[in-house]
Amino acid sequence: MAILNITYQGLSADYGFELDANLSDADVRRVAVEIVRAGNVPGLNLPHLGDDAFAGFVVDRLQGGQRIYLRPKVPFGA
C-alpha cells in the first residue's frame, strides 16, 4: 500500500492506494482530481474541483516511491 499525500489550498491529506509502478506525474495529477472530487480523501472535500486544479503542481516520490506528495510549487523564500 502506497500513500498519496495531496496538498491543496493549504490543506494536506493522505490517500492509500495500490501503487502502479508506471504511474506518471500526469497520472498522479489526474487521479488526484478524481479521488478528491469523489470525496475519498478525508479532509479535502471539494466536489467541484476543476480538471486542471493540480496543473503546475509538483510530484515528489519519497521512501522508495511508497510516499508520493502532490504539492504546489515552492519557488520562494526571501
Partner: protein, 193 residues
C-alpha cells in the same frame, strides 16, 4: 569563540524570521543577501522601520545586536560561483532561503562539493504552503514567471511565521542532536515527512 557557524543565504521573509528565532543558539549566525529593506517588507519580514533603505544582511545583524545583544556577521552581496566558497567558508550548516532556483542550485552544488549540510526552506506563491527539506531530498522549483513577487504584503505572515519557526526548529535539532527532519507546512499544520 563559538565553534558552530550557521550561514543564512537570503534573509527576506523566511530567512530573517528564522534567524531571529535562532538567536538563542550558541553559534555564529551569518547573513548573506544583496537586497535592501523596503517599506513593503515590514509587513512580512523581520525588519523594523529604522532599517528601511539598508542592506538586509547588515540590517538584520544590527537589529540582532541592538534589540537582542546578539553578535552576527553579514555579507551584503549576491551569492555567485566566484564568492560562494568564501561566503560559506567554515560553515557548520547552510540555510537556503533564496527566492530563485538558480541561487538554490548554486548553493546545493557548493554544499555537495564541500560536504556541508544544507537545509532548504521554500514557500508557494500563494502563501498557503511551504517546505523545509534537507538537500538530499530537495529539488528547486522554478518560478512561474521570472522575478515573480510574493510575500510583499502581510497576508502571508501567519504561514511565514509557522514556516520560519519550523526552519528554526530544524536548525536547532540539527545543531544540538544531528537530527535531519523534513517537514511540510500548511495553513494549519506542520507535518513531518
Amino acid at each position: 569563540m563559538r565553534e558552530q557557524r550557521v550561514v543564512f543565504c537570503g534573509v527576506g521573509a523566511l530567512g530573517s524570521s528564522a534567524a531571529v528565532l535562532c538567536r538563542n543558539l550558541d553559534a555564529t549566525l551569518v547573513f548573506v543577501d544583496f537586497d535592501r529593506v523596503e517599506s513593503k517588507n515590514l509587513l512580512s519580514q523581520a525588519y523594523v522601520k529604522q532599517s528601511v533603505g539598508k542592506n538586509k544582511a547588515e540590517a538584520l545583524k544590527a537589529q540582532l545586536l541592538n534589540f537582542h545583544g546578539v553578535k552576527a556577521e553579514s555579507f551584503g552581496v549576491r551569492l555567485t560561483t566566484d564568492n560562494v566558497a568564501t561566503l560559506c567558508a567554515k560553515a557548520s550548516l547552510l540555510v537556503d532561503c533564496f527566492d530563485n532556483a538558480a541561487s538554490r542550485q548554486l548553493l546545493s552544488e557548493y554544499s555537495r562539493k564541500a560536504n556541508v549540510p544544507l537545509l532548504h526552506a521554500a514557500v508557494s506563491g500563494d502563501g498557503t504552503f511551504g517546505l523545509v527539506r534537507w538537500d538530499e531530498r530537495f529539488k528547486p522549483d522554478a518560478e512561474d514567471v521570472a522575478g515573480q513577487a510574493t510575500c510583499e504584503g502581510g497576508e502571508h505572515l501567519p504561514l511565514i511565521g509557522l514556516l520560519s519557526a519550523t526552519v528554526a526548529r530544524a536548525i536547532q535539532d540539527f545543531l544540538k542532536a544531528g537530527v535531519q527532519r523534513d517537514s511540510m507546512v500548511g495553513l494549519a499544520a506542520v507535518t513531518p515527512t
